[in-house]
């Protein structure tokens, strides 16, 4: 409600029949930004110990540390307006500025992006089907694994 009254003070909001129910449900949450009410939600979700998969060497439940600490952090550099996201947009000393002047430097991110698609989609499918208590699409997941391996060999 606050945003509408701040930006559209002259407007009248017409309550709907669902408002009371939503207001009751909303009391269960501290933050509008975090559904799990966890501070640092993505990190805590990623680092929760797995109930299904265990480290072959230690026997400890696995966590998604690599995905969170490296991939999530690295991709974030290109979601936000970081200096890292500007490398291909800068100009060498003594040269005229051009829009996307060094864009060729970003070409390698194509394969990384496609690798992320395969990796995260296949892991999402595995976890989702566990939650659905249904049979995994094993043949398709194996095909995805093989294509992922080809990316690793290429790099």
């Amino acid at each position: 409600m606050r945003r509408s009254t701040k930006f559209f003070p002259e407007k009248h909001y017409e309550p709907t029949r669902f408002d009371r129910d939503f207001a009751e449900l909303a009391k269960n949450y501290k933050s509008a930004h975090s559904w799990a009410d966890l501070r640092g939600q993505a990190k805590l979700m990623a680092l929760e110990e797995d109930s299904y998969e265990f480290d072959e060497k230690t026997g400890e439940p696995i966590k998604q540390e690599f995905d969170y600490e490296l991939l999530y952090w690295w991709t974030s550099q290109f979601v936000h307006a970081t200096v890292r996201s500007l490398y291909a947009h800068g100009t060498a000393p003594g040269t005229l500025f051009r829009i996307r002047g060094s864009i060729h430097e970003e070409a390698g991110y194509s394969d990384l992006a496609l690798f992320n698609v395969l990796a995260f989609v296949s892991k999402t499918i595995v976890c989702a089907f566990r939650g659905l208590r249904d049979e995994q699409p094993a043949d398709i997941l194996e095909e995805m694994r093989q294509v992922m391996s080809s990316y690793a060999q290429d790099s």
Binding site: Y13, A36, S85, N116, V117, T124, A128
Partner: protein, 122 residues
């Protein structure tokens, strides 16, 4: 591998997953959140996956890489939901809309009226 051959291979796999899920003819239980949430998150993931491929094909590699972060977040969410207490967590996930609706609904209502007027639709 060229971009086009890479993306066509990945899109082919996405299509296989979409066909597998659609042909499975899931009918989510109305009284439980779990299947509705997980299936919707799969649908979102496969849609974002296609969008990443579209950006790669259109020669926006860094932007495609940035968008792949959404897939990481969907994975963390799905893993967390299915890891334990799945139904309770799914309910907490869905009902959070009440918290955001309290903030956004009036804005949506006002904006939609504005849009209607701008387009002279009554």
């Amino acid at each position: 591998m060229t971009n086009e051959s890479s993306t066509s291979q990945v899109i082919c796999l996405i299509e296989k997953l979409e066909a597998f899920i659609n042909n499975s003819r899931f009918l989510p239980a109305t009284s439980f959140y779990r299947s509705k949430v997980l299936l919707a998150l799969i649908s979102k993931a496969l849609t974002v996956a296609r969008a990443v491929c579209a950006l790669v094909d259109a020669d926006f590699p860094a932007e495609a890489f940035g968008l792949s972060r959404t897939l990481a977040e969907i994975f963390f969410t799905v893993r967390y939901l299915s890891n334990k207490d799945t139904e309770q967590r799914a309910a907490k996930y869905v009902e959070h809309v009440a918290k955001t609706r309290g903030i956004n609904a009036p804005v949506h209502q006002i904006l939609s009226r504005k849009t209607l007027r701008a387009n002279k639709i009554r």
